[in-house]
């Protein structure tokens, strides 16, 4: 790339545009807000919402900033009366048939239409015609509900399925102001990336059925985390109740519930996209947990379980460790520092389940574990060897059954009921959302996650368990 830049002036600020940049892009990069509905960084330019109209000195007509290439010494005005009037008009047009039902709309609080109406819209509507009624609460597919009255036909969702997910599942049918978004097979919008349309929809037209009417978004607070669904390790936001709102609901579980997971835009790993499995992380994490240790099938205290595990390990002739590929790099470092000559094996906690997309062109990887790369970098790729005659195995992670050949089995696990975990000692460990750390994804990129919730009382951090077993 050449270093040549183009000088343009936006609202008296002289800024430098890169070759090929549009006015909207360069304005965004320099923190100048030009409102936009249909423009999206990763989608083709549609130029249909017309709210990004700006005045270019020398041109008689207002120009859409999203489709306007920067030219040398271009002078652009976004704050002049003419532009403000145009924005007001566009918002007036968009709201003529919009139900303005923010009070019962899940999108309220994070709605572009709402934001722009408050920032740029007319104080009062000049319309007095009854509004057109369209389909409401229409199931576009198993996961998405569509309200055609709230839709502003920006075509972001349509372009997403055509250009990003590749399913071509959505389109706009009919003509004029009776046109509406529809799935190719009505009711069957089952794109594995379908939930992204709720994220890119600038209004409350496309909503997640899972989150529908669950909580007002301003009661929630996002925490940055990493999806554990596959080796991509996409950045996500886990939405928990904000501290202030937790105090309003003492004595209920709502403070410890993740209401939804959405994408956290991360240019290096996932961009602004996340697959449906990622959007389902909160459900995945809400599976029934193991909350207290088990010693030979009976519930015990943490101290009992640790003592028994330590006794087994000390009396072992040929112990081995099986490392979880869901462990964070920090936990793996602790294990590595404590090992001292014990045989180490690695394994994949999860394999693709039936019906799941194994691998695709966009994000989903065949390896369904978030830190396989971190494990392999430290401990190699050796799978468990049943013929090596290990009498005691410290198994860390999720297993379908006991390691073959082992007389005793100490299991550090997240999930599972006693019937599913027939180990000698089972010590429940914290999940990704109860600790901080990093994962290394399949490309070798580190991605950090924050702690979302406190761990339950009977649950230990795996690193602490390892330390006390080694002491």
């Amino acid at each position: 790339m050449s270093t040549s830049t183009i000088k343009v002036t936006i609202d008296q600020h002289e800024i430098e545009a890169r070759p090929g940049e549009t006015v909207l892009q360069v304005a965004r990069r320099h923190g100048i807000d030009i409102p936009h509905f249909c423009y999206h960084d990763k989608l083709s330019i549609s130029g249909n919402c017309r709210i990004c109209l700006v005045k270019v000195n020398g041109l008689p007509k207002l120009q859409p900033a999203c489709n306007l290439g920067c030219a040398p010494n271009m002078v652009i005005e976004t704050a002049v009366e003419q532009v403000q009037q145009a924005r007001e008009n566009v918002l007036q047009f968009l709201l003529v048939n919009h139900p303005v039902d923010c009070g019962i709309c899940d999108k309220a609080g994070e709605c572009r239409l709402q934001d722009y109406q408050h920032l740029y819209g007319p104080k009062q509507s000049i319309a007095r015609d009854p509004k057109h009624h369209k389909r409401k609460l229409y199931d576009l597919g198993p996961r998405i509900t569509l309200d055609n009255e709230r839709c502003i036909l920006c075509s972001r969702c349509v372009r997403f399925t055509r250009e990003i997910s590749g399913s071509n599942a959505l389109g706009i049918v009919e003509r004029g102001n009776h046109s509406y978004v529809e799935a190719e097979v009505p009711g069957r919008f089952d794109d594995p990336y379908s939930d992204n349309v709720t994220e890119i929809c600038p209004t409350g037209a496309l909503l997640s059925k899972d989150f529908l009417y669950k909580c007002r978004v301003w009661f929630l607070q996002p925490v940055r985390s990493v999806c554990t669904g596959c080796a991509r390790g996409c950045s996500i936001k886990v939405w928990r109740r904000s501290a202030v709102r937790q105090q309003h609901m003492p004595g209920t579980d709502s403070a410890h519930v993740a209401y939804r997971t959405t994408v956290f835009e991360n240019a290096e790993i996932n961009g602004p996209w996340l697959c449906n499995k990622g959007y389902d992380q909160h459900k995945w994490m809400a599976r029934e947990r193991l909350l207290e240790p088990l010693v030979r099938g009976r519930a015990g205290t943490v101290a009992e379980a640790l003592a028994e595990a330590k006794r087994l390990l000390e009396s072992a002739r040929n112990p081995a460790v099986l490392v979880s590929s869901h462990a964070s790099n920090e936990e793996l470092d602790v294990l590595q520092s404590l090992l001292g000559g014990v045989a180490v094996y690695v394994h994949r906690d999860w394999l693709p389940v039936e019906g799941e997309v194994v691998e695709d062109h966009l994000l989903i990887r065949a390896d369904k574990n978030p830190n396989r790369a971190g494990v392999v970098a430290r401990f190699g790729e050796r799978e468990f060897d049943a013929t090596a005659g290990h009498d005691v195995v410290l198994a860390w992670g999720e297993f379908a059954g006991a390691p073959p050949g082992a007389a005793h089995w100490i299991h550090l696990s997240l999930f599972g009921t006693p019937a599913e975990v027939p180990a000698t000692v089972v010590i429940p460990v914290s999940n990704t959302w109860e600790r901080r750390g990093t994962f290394t994804n399949f490309e070798g990129k580190l991605n950090a996650f924050e702690q979302v919730f406190e761990r339950p009382a009977g649950v230990q951090h795996a690193a602490d368990v390892l330390r006390s077993l080694a002491s």
Partner: protein
Amino acid sequence: MNGTVFQTFPITATSHTLGEYRARGGYAGLGQALREWTPAQVGERAKASGLQGRGGAGFMTGLKWEFVSKDAPVVYLCCNIDEGEPGTFKDRWILEHSPHQLIEGMLIASYALRVRHAFAYIRGEFDLPLRRLEAALQEAYAAGLVGENILGSGFSCDIVVHRGAGAYVCGEESSLINSLEGKKGFPRNKPPFPAVRGLYQKPTVVNNVETLATVPWIMVHGPEAYAAIGVKKSPGTRLFGVSGHVERPGLFERPTGYPLAQLIHEDAGGILGGRKLKAVIPGGSSTPILTAAEIETVTLDPESMTRAGSMVGSGAVIVIAEGTCMVRLLQVLSRFYAHESCGQCTPCREGTDWMNRILERVIAGQGTPADLATLRRLPTGIQGNTVCALGDAASMPVASFMKKFGEEFEHYVTHGRSVHDGRLAP
């Protein structure tokens, strides 16, 4: 019969056939162009003639051709036969009575632009024009005038006829291209212009029927002869379709600069039933309306029309006699635009329907003065702010009707009925 380029022959049952067209000197221009001139020379002749697009915008045809890169490996030509502007019926006449003239024009243009495949996008509602065009193409293919190695010159060009599905907006060049590609007829954002990236992302020229059908005459008679007709800045003849309240509605080929009053009062036989003239929509339904007083001195050329505050557009002169209710007339137009808005961009999608609903309410006797204020304001929010010109087309009539016949609207609102109740007396 008294025309120069088009209306030069008596219409008979066979006047549209290849034999008769050849007898009138048809395909001589094509032969001459292929034999004597290089593509660049043909383009220069078109440019030198000063021919302007006849679809409505009036862009210089030679210049449009020049914008296409000389190095482009593939160039397409589209003939826009989606004649949808209410009041316009000139392209229909050409296709019905002289289809070979269009085919010859398309071939000459294709030669100038080095086009291998030319497309004729014909509106779905056309029946006889489609049949005439297809029959003419068959004749031309059989005679070796279209297809491989035309007239032994080594130049090959195929013409593909594509039928539209009934959308006014597909007469806009970029939505025509989208429709031709099999997509929904949504206009594209410009830039890029079709001359850079058009049909199948290749440089494309979209020309009107009348424009292309004029090209053979220019080849035969020379660009100087064409440039000498009519006014200097926009020379040539045009087909003016006069409709509405006139004694003899019809199509008249007249040189540019012809007085509008003469066209209405002499050629079209004056106002129906000897009534007084009230107003004229001079260039298709989307052009601003002119009052009877305003048309007195207007001539049919862009300069004079611009001075009068309107446009020549597609040459469709709609004459309105005294006694017509302008409110109801405007509602007929607004209903059309609300129905034909493609729905892609916000101002047009919502605005056309909104204007129509206000007008519907006014006509039902339930309008208020606030409605008229809204009606005056809405066109300002639409005009110039849309992807294509349909937004302008829809808002210009509303703005001009409100401006020039505002008192009729106010009367309707205050009295709940029109100033001109009842039928137009015979």
